[in-house]
């Protein structure tokens, strides 16, 4: 493409491969992105308002359906907040089960991301293999909770089900295979030459930038920011089962791959520990239907980063206001800044690098100032990216 020509490249909001729709606009000069803006709202359903018309228990399920990938953490954040307002605490066994589920969910989410990011980079083999192996953790989640995605583990004041001996053995067996595979994937993402060409030095975010933009989760940790709610403000059973911080100083896509895969090992270790030291006892405690008036802030570490809930109750059966700030939103703000100066061909990888909860896209319209316009699909952009790197 000739330089000196400015394009605006809108991407969004529909695509086969991924999840929520989001609409991005990149302004490009030749090959280089000079600006990025985002338009959300294709999946804006009005949940925060809907919450005000539902009782606390119903909200548990409504909030679980904010995001199907990290459904458990959403419900946990709400349940923890409501319990704190009511002045009760779920029994230790319930806390341990919640923690177990959130770690299993983290495994499923990171494996999913590994596959999707590889797919965006044109590495279909890794995509298919990592999704094949992800089915192991999906089976575990299904046999534990009864559903593969929206587990509905939480109740306000506890959890619904117990972990039996049979599940105990199943999980241990499952994560053993997964650990073996994860070791292999770590080797693949750090040594495969073609893949490294697409990840090393791409989407660089320095420590200062990460701090300024308020990046969270693995995206921030890959830039060396030591920020993890599980460590900073332990909740559930994390005080008893501490997590070790995983960071990397690279700041590029490769570092994000490394951080996420290493976090998987941490999850495996934690799950083993929880299963071997499962506290005995009850699964639920009694919580009144009317949650006492008050305000609380509930922060949990979702697979994508810090999830922030601000909950206000007015003492009735229904909450007064629940504000949800999802980790993707924080990282979105950072990616629109980081994208500047990169090649258009790197955009799919950079976007998927933050593990966004946006369904990739529709069609891309390349608007050539005033003259004819050309329609690109995201698929074509992806292929363009792959081609671009092949020719180099």
């Amino acid at each position: 493409m000739e330089a000196q020509r400015k394009f605006i490249v809108p991407i969004g909001p529909q695509h086969p491969a991924l999840k929520e729709p989001g609409h991005f606009q990149f302004s490009v000069e030749g090959e280089i992105v000079t600006g990025a803006t985002v338009r959300l709202g294709y999946v804006h359903r009005g949940i925060e308002k809907g919450a005000e018309a539902r009782n606390w228990t119903q909200n548990l399920y409504l909030f679980e359906r904010i995001c199907g990938i990290c459904s458990h953490v959403h419900a946990t954040a709400l349940a923890l907040g409501a319990e704190r307002l009511a002045g009760v605490e779920a029994p230790p066994r319930a806390q341990a089960i919640r923690t177990l589920m959130s770690e299993l969910e983290r495994i499923h989410s990171h494996m999913l991301w590994l596959g999707v990011a590889a797919h965006e980079g044109g590495f279909e083999t890794l995509f298919m293999y990592s999704w094949r192996d992800r089915e192991i953790v999906m089976d575990l989640l299904e046999s534990l909770s009864g559903n593969r995605v929206n587990y509905s583990v939480n109740l306000i004041g506890g959890v619904k089900f117990d972990v039996t001996e049979k599940h105990h053995d199943e999980i241990l067996k499952g994560i053993e295979i997964l650990e073996e595979r994860t070791k292999h994937y770590l080797k693949v993402v750090t040594t495969d030459r073609t893949f490294l060409a697409r990840t090393r030095g791409v989407g660089l975010m320095t420590l200062q930038q990460a701090e300024l933009f308020g990046a969270v989760g693995p995206t921030a940790r890959a830039s060396g920011v030591a920020r993890d709610v599980r460590i900073d403000a332990p909740y559930e059973a994390y005080p008893q089962f501490p997590v070790r911080l995983v960071t990397d100083d690279g700041g590029d896509l490769l570092a994000r791959f490394k951080v996420r895969t290493r976090e998987l090992f941490e999850s495996y270790r934690l799950i083993r520990e929880i299963l071997n030291h499962m506290p005995p006892g009850e699964l639920t405690t009694r919580v009144p239907r009317r949650i006492p008036a008050g305000e609380t802030i509930s922060r949990v570490e979702a697979p994508r980063g810090e999830l922030f809930y601000f909950i206000k109750s007015n003492g009735s059966e229904k909450p007064e206001r629940i504000k949800v700030r999802t980790p993707s939103l924080c990282n979105w703000a950072s990616v629109t800044q980081v994208a500047i100066g990169h090649k258009l061909a790197d955009m799919p990888m950079i976007l998927s690098g933050i593990d966004p909860c946006f369904s990739c896209n529709d069609r891309m319209v390349t608007i050539n100032r005033g003259s004819s316009s050309q329609v690109w699909t995201w698929e074509e952009l992806r292929r363009y990216g792959i081609e671009y790197y092949r020719q180099r």
Partner: protein
């Protein structure tokens, strides 16, 4: 730095602007400030490298009713800053009649997404935010309707009939 020292430090930083402070929970500090002192307060926190800007919450306070002295309806804007387990909340009240607040984008550029959400959901104008295009609501959303204000009770449509039908049967 443990939580209580972090909170003490934040209280010291914000002291010049604080109208009132409260600690609703051991790990939290609520500081009520004037609208005008928002930018200097945020700047001070950022300059001292105290935590990071975590979230922005709007809280609608509809006009209080009869009997008591009538309070004007306002939107409370909450700026949450987190540092490890400590959470500092700057609380700014904006009346309906003059729903304007300074944008903090010049200090924290990534705040623009939160501010755009605030503009759409509560109708609080953020003076100086770089982009005010629609972020979440549809393009044909009526002007001046702010879904997260308490006065908004939804568009009366199918669900009302549905509920009636259900109870009738």
């Amino acid at each position: 730095m443990d939580t209580s020292t972090a909170l003490e430090k934040a209280a010291a930083i914000l002291q010049p602007w604080a109208l009132a402070t409260a600690t609703p929970e051991p790990n939290r500090l609520d500081v009520v400030i004037e609208r005008g002192s928002l930018i200097p307060a945020v700047k001070a926190l950022v300059k001292a490298r105290w935590g990071f800007f975590s979230a922005l919450t709007g809280l609608d306070q509809p006009p209080s009713g009869d009997g008591e002295p009538v309070r004007e309806g306002c939107v409370e804007v909450l700026y949450h800053f987190c540092s490890a387990a400590a959470v500092v909340t700057l609380r700014v009240s904006v009346p309906y009649s003059d729903a304007k607040i300074d944008s903090i984008c010049e200090v924290i550029p990534s705040a623009t997404l939160y501010e755009r959400e605030l503009i759409e959901m509560f109708g609080v104008e953020c003076t100086g935010t770089p982009n005010t295009e629609r972020l979440l609501l549809s393009d044909d959303w009526p002007e001046g309707v702010y879904p997260l204000r308490k006065s908004f009770t939804g568009f009366q449509q199918a669900e009302g009939q549905e509920a009636n039908h259900g109870s009738a049967a």
